[in-house]
């Protein structure tokens, strides 16, 4: 006898624990208990069902054509069978899938899910990596590393995982059942792990450890070497050269240690051996055309196996990406104007306007060019926008089939886990994203299965709240800058993707793109921009802190007294703020 489980549209109680459910007063069908989260106290006492059958559902296996009315049987966390004519085992809990569409669980192929923000630091002062004898090396981060935090490839995401209760709520709301997670700060960021987004033992989440080494091209924010994009490249180059030298030294020593001084052990260089051998892929965050080209050039110089993450302008480099077989983890965090500009803001540069219009077209362009790409959330502050943005990409020419593929099988293939994830096939991990109606047009996600277990869906309100809690610096800020004893106003357009900041600065400091921008978990930020003061153009370093819709900080220019700046932006979707009061110069100038 099957235990029948009605599959009702989600209501608020899907996110509630059993203990609290009595209070909600909406619990009407006791049989629904089976599909809600099983509280730990109960699961310890009761056998948790491990066999499910989803019947009468539209199934999109991705690896083969959709099944208009079919059954999926899940057993012990794996897909036991799938098809139009599948026998439902006697012990299966039935899920009536009428009106539902079942997709392979979505994979967020770039981010830091499950890694506490405190572990995403890029601290440390000074460093080796080309600094040679002059560098002060005071490493923090990985133990016994000769390199400062931010240049430690030996860091492993697997060892940093520590998700708390609602770490995955917003991601679940977007339909993600697994994610590639890396410590996302610094230059050499260490290896990522592919994890399932469920609670339970941290190590049980790991689907594949050490998927790829991650590289970011943002300078260290504490002033130590490298603190510029130039230094980022020279330190990467020096460390990769040192890794090659380390390989040769170790090989020579293991061939014949007699008469050879023992080469020093170096965990950082040891961690790069698979990278320089071209075995372990390197995920490089690069957004603009020239960033992507630089990343590809570096990969070519050292024979690395690159994967581009971010990739806003990847479509402009499509021919090269295709020719070199480089896949892209494309951010679906498409930029758009978030608030009406304030009255004293300069008009957005045409480049920014164009970028906002072009972004949703880029997936279709990559598809047309034959570049392999996955769509990823583009940072923890944009989960709520994922499905709407995927739909925008479809409206702009991406095929529905490719859209689904780019969230499922394509990332699984790029990340080397297509043997266990990414499609609904017998023997694969039972990660499923289920929607009522067609998710690529109007449907909405009602249920997830992760590792064969139903996962409570957050209510739309809870998912939205979890998504909005994450701060994003994106938007148009009005700056007031006091430098060289004069007040100047400027407009700062920021786009945040993960920890990276890009954008433009214009107004009384000239017009330029901002460079080398990053924001830390503690809301401190740093970027550089060429500014024109009187007759000269100088590189200014802006460092400071964000606080909701305000920012403030310090401006340093070589050869000038430091300046200060402050700024505001209109609240998201809100009315423009009043004009910015000028920053007051320091009393002890």
């Amino acid at each position: 006898m099957h235990e029948l489980v009605a599959f009702a549209p989600p209501k608020e109680y899907y996110m509630e624990s059993m203990q609290r459910r009595a209070l909600t007063g909406v619990m009407a069908v006791p049989i629904l208990l089976a599909l809600t989260a099983i509280p730990e106290v109960l699961s310890a006492q009761r056998a948790v069902p491990s066999t499910y059958a989803i019947t009468n559902a539209r199934i999109v296996p991705v690896s083969q054509p959709p099944i208009e009315k079919g059954t999926i049987v899940i057993r012990n966390g794996l897909i036991a069978s799938v098809g139009a004519n599948v026998t439902v085992p006697a012990d299966a809990r039935l899920v009536d899938g009428t009106g539902l569409t079942v997709y392979p669980g979505f994979i967020d192929s770039y981010g830091s899910l499950g890694i506490p923000s405190a572990a995403q630091g890029a601290g440390g002062r000074g460093g080796r990596g080309g600094g040679g004898a002059q560098a002060a090396t005071a490493a923090t981060g990985a133990a016994n590393s000769a390199y400062p935090a931010g240049l430690q490839p030996e860091i492993r995401a697997q060892e940093l995982l520590n998700p708390d209760g609602d770490s995955f709520t917003a991601a679940h709301g977007a339909g993600f059942t697994s994610a590639l997670s890396a410590q996302g700060a610094g230059i050499f960021q260490g290896t990522s792990a592919l994890i399932n987004l469920t609670d339970g033992d941290v190590n049980a989440l790991v689907v594949k450890p050490d998927v790829a080494q991650h590289i970011g091209f943002t300078p260290l924010r504490n002033g130590g070497y490298p603190n510029s994009l130039m230094g980022v490249f020279s330190s990467l180059r020096q460390i990769l050269l040192d890794a090659q030298h380390y390989r040769d030294e170790q090989a020579a020593y293991s061939r014949n240690p007699r008469g050879m001084q023992r080469p020093e052990a170096d965990p950082s260089l040891a961690a790069l051996q698979d990278v320089i051998a071209g075995k372990e892929p390197v995920v490089m965050f690069a957004s603009s055309q020239r960033e992507i080209e630089r990343a590809l050039d570096l990969a070519k110089e050292f024979g690395l196996k690159p994967i581009i993450a971010g990739g806003s302008e990847a479509y402009t480099v499509a021919a090269r990406l295709k020719a070199e077989g480089v896949p892209v983890l494309l951010s679906a965090n498409f930029p758009r104007r978030t608030a009406a500009p304030s009255a004293d803001a300069d008009p957005d540069p045409i480049r920014v306007l164009r970028e906002r219009v072009e972004a949703p077209k880029s997936p279709a362009k990559l598809q047309a060019a034959g570049v392999r790409f996955a769509l990823q959330s583009g940072g923890s502050n944009s989960f709520n926008d994922l499905i709407p943005n995927v739909r925008r990409a479809i409206e702009n020419g991406l095929t529905t089939e490719q859209a689904i593929r780019s969230l499922t099988l394509q990332p699984a293939e790029i990340l080397g886990v297509a043997d266990r994830l990414g499609s609904i096939e017998t023997g694969k991990i039972a990660n499923l994203t289920i929607s009522r109606g067609d998710l690529m047009t109007t449907g909405r996600i009602t249920q997830l299965f992760i590792d064969g277990k139903p996962v409570a869906m957050p209510s739309p309100a809870a998912a939205a709240a979890a998504g909005n809690n994450a701060f994003s610096a994106s938007g148009t800020w009005t700056l007031s800058v006091n430098v060289d004893g004069a007040d100047r106003t400027a407009t700062l357009s920021i786009r945040q993707e993960g920890t990276r900041l890009s954008g433009s600065l214009q107004g009384m400091l000239g017009s330029a793109e901002i460079q080398n921008g990053s924001v830390g978990a503690d809301s401190t930020f740093r970027f550089t921009a060429p500014v024109t003061l009187k007759e000269g153009t100088e590189e200014a370093t802006f460092s400071g802190t964000f606080e909701n819709n305000a920012l403030k900080g310090r401006l340093t220019i070589v050869g000038h007294a430091p300046g200060i700046f402050s700024g505001t932006r209109p609240a998201r979707g809100g009315a423009p703020p009043p004009r910015t009061p000028p920053a007051k110069p320091s009393a002890n100038r």
């Binding site: 130039m230 490249f233 020279s234 020239r290 906002r356 219009v357 080398n516 000269g536 050869g559 007294a561």
Partner: protein
């Protein structure tokens, strides 16, 4: 198919106000965006410029003269020249043609300027961070500039490696690198290195940057001496390895490559040009003597505002000097500057140039050169030399650019008046026989770009949330009576 076509759509080019609009940045209303797809003329590198006044700089001024350009090179200068059928003909009657201007000191089109963390950052490379789409490149073209020395900043005693570029706006960064130009490196002395101006102020609530050695001119000399001593040792290690390997020893492991010291070895070997930011006579002399001691030359003293005090010594040690025409007193070490600096240096045989060091001033280097006729009495040709052939010498590319001579690259500016006049505007800027700036096309593009902006503003992604499709906040419905 040109690779730049795909980039054209992305370029945020900007129309340039007249190069003589002194002191003004382009007002925002004029910021139309130029796509180089239309700013350029496809000449395939060949053209015939007819009936111009040609300022050759090295071989005098020629009236009513034609210049024939084939495959990017100047192949003929004379009267009544003919070109193969299909060659672009430019009628330059009443116009002036001068060599493309060379700016020996610029920081434009670079996504980073200073690696200010360490005292020696010879490992960093401007070529890693060039931004070929920087709008200032286009603006510089509008001022007749065709080549520039993109330098690391002045934060460190030994800064990063330079990039000598041709301003082929719209092409890839790698295609803008000046073919065959010798590599260079930035040094810096004086106040910017000691951070005299930036370390002494405390801003409440803001972290104060840490002090960094050296904080005195003595320390700067020691940093140089230490770096070149290490470079000499490093070179010896490699020389030893190479000589043993050459003799057949195959058991040796190659020494560790050190990207900090490799470029300094190239300096010692005379393969890399040193461009040294310096102001005071004493620090310049220190550097020239130290270089002499280690057996290398300083190619240029950059800024060198007190160069006139030691003009003979600079000439004797074979250094060039690149400076401003009339900027001084903007900091303590700039107090002894005089506008006669260039003239005095040139009279003593120093190869002297004017540079911009500014994204804005780079557009009117012709005017800065003209000032030298007023201050110091340079001749027209001498004034022009400071922004053309002398810059080419300082960058080691004098065999290719810097003057209008047969065999040289066709890097030219066509001006509507004598370029040393404040009334002169650039009509066309030509690099390797291709037109990279055309004033008439630029003017035609402005309306197009305004139209594009208006269209983009109407796109949903450029509307603020809460606004309707027309960009108007929806009024509340009327209350029922």
């Amino acid at each position: 198919m040109h690779r730049f076509l795909s980039r054209g759509a992305l370029l945020a080019a900007c129309v340039v106000v007249s190069p003589v609009a002194l002191g003004m940045l382009a007002p925002d209303a004029l910021i139309a965006q130029a796509a180089t797809t239309t700013a350029r003329t496809g000449t395939s590198g060949s053209m015939l410029i007819r009936n111009a006044t040609v300022l050759t700089v090295t071989k005098g001024t020629l009236k009513n003269t034609d210049i024939l350009v084939q495959n990017g090179k100047i192949t003929g200068i004379g009267t009544g020249l003919t070109a193969p059928a299909g060659t672009t003909i430019i009628d330059a009657t009443g116009k002036f043609v001068m060599p493309g201007i060379i700016d020996p000191h610029s920081h434009m089109m670079s996504d980073a300027v200073n690696e200010g963390s360490l005292s020696v950052t010879s490992m960093v490379r401007i070529t890693d961070v060039l931004n070929p789409t920087a709008v200032n490149v286009y603006r510089a073209l509008a001022g007749g500039v065709t080549s520039a020395n993109i330098l690391h900043g002045s934060a460190n005693t030994i800064g990063g490696q330079n990039a000598t570029v041709k301003l082929k706006y719209g092409e890839e960064a790698s295609d803008m690198l000046f073919p065959g130009a010798p590599p260079g490196i930035k040094f810096a002395l004086g106040e910017n290195v000691t951070r005299k101006n930036s370390n002494t102020f405390v801003i409440p609530g803001q972290p104060t940057p840490q002090k960094r050695y050296p904080t005195s001119r003595m320390g700067q000399e020691e940093v140089l001496r230490d770096a070149f001593t290490r470079a000499r040792d490093y070179k010896a290690t490699w020389d030893d390895y190479r000589s043993k390997t050459a003799k057949g020893d195959k058991t040796l492991l190659a020494p560790r490559r050190d990207l900090e010291l490799e470029p300094l070895v190239e300096v010692l070997e005379g393969k890399r040009l040193v461009h040294a930011h310096s102001y005071r006579a004493d620090e310049m002399l220190m550097l020239l003597n130290l270089a002499d001691e280690f057996g290398f030359k300083i190619k240029t003293l950059q800024h060198g505002l007190e160069g006139y005090k030691i003009a003979s010594e600079i000439a004797k040690l074979g250094a060039g000097l690149s400076t401003f025409a009339d900027s001084w007193s903007y900091k303590i070490e700039a107090y002894d500057a005089i506008p006669y600096n260039v003239a005095i240096l040139m009279r003593h045989g120093v190869v002297a140039t004017i540079n911009s060091d500014s994204d804005e001033r780079i557009r009117r280097l012709n005017i800065d050169a003209a000032k030298l006729m007023r201050y110091g009495g340079l001749t027209e040709d001498e004034a022009l030399r400071t922004i053309t052939i002398n810059g080419a010498i300082q960058l080691g590319v004098e065999n290719k650019v810097g003057s209008i001579e047969v065999g040289k690259d066709a890097d030219l500016g066509i001006w509507n008046a004598h370029p040393l006049s404040v009334y002169a505007n650039v009509d066309k800027t030509i690099i390797d026989g291709e037109v990279f700036f055309d004033r008439q096309k630029d003017i035609a593009m402005r309306a197009e770009k305004e139209k594009e902006r208006a269209e983009l503003e109407q796109a949903d992604a450029n509307k603020a949330p809460g606004a309707t499709r027309r960009g108007v906040i929806t009024p509340l419905p009327e209350m029922p009576q």
